[in-house]
């Protein structure tokens, strides 16, 4: 059980680190959103899963409550994160930021 928790934390931290690194490395808003949203959501799933595993492994009322609340926090993150990313992408496009190095842009052709 211990090893499982350490492994989950390891994977989660790796992806969260990559996500914040992607913010610094990619050239424009859209590619940064790719890195930031995907990697931080995936990493947070793993770190929260580690906490859930810890809660169920410890057992007892208080720890079960911790695990159940962590599951609800995870669901909230999973629902809100991609929707927020979608809103940011649309806002960035409508405020006039063009994707850099783009090979095609169908949205441009529509208007």
């Amino acid at each position: 059980m211990n090893i499982l928790i350490y492994v989950l934390f390891g994977i989660g931290l790796t992806f969260n680190g990559l996500g914040s690194f992607a913010l610094l490395r990619f050239p424009d808003v859209y590619t940064r959103l790719h890195g930031a949203t995907k990697c931080t959501t995936f990493g947070s799933i793993f770190t929260t899963a580690a906490v859930i595993a810890y809660g169920f492994a410890r057992g007892g009322g208080a720890y079960h409550t911790l695990a159940i609340h962590a599951i609800i926090a995870l669901i909230a993150l999973l629902l809100t994160n991609p929707t927020g990313a979608h809103a940011i992408a649309r806002a960035a496009y409508r405020s006039g930021v063009k994707p850099k190095y783009a090979v095609v842009d169908k949205l441009e052709e529509k208007k």
Binding site: G12, R32, A36, S44, T47, T48, A91
Partner: protein, 88 residues
Amino acid sequence: MIVDPITFFIVAACFLLFAIFSMVRLGLGPTAGDRIVALDTINTLVVAGMVVLAAAYNEVIFVDIAIIYALLSFVGTLYVARYLEGGL
């Protein structure tokens, strides 16, 4: 034996480090879009960090606050996005 609490503190410190990385983008910026992306990333990291800290301190209330923080930061992101679109 179950995990040493110090592990959770180390993980939370890593989250803090990543949030500071993201703050570099928040400051540099060039466009407003980049800044919200950075802010959204920091929000996700804070929520994940709060869940981990709840396990470290054995306080369930931290997770409840993390849930509310996730929902409120989502509303905040939507508002700023709406403002950038020009619909506010």
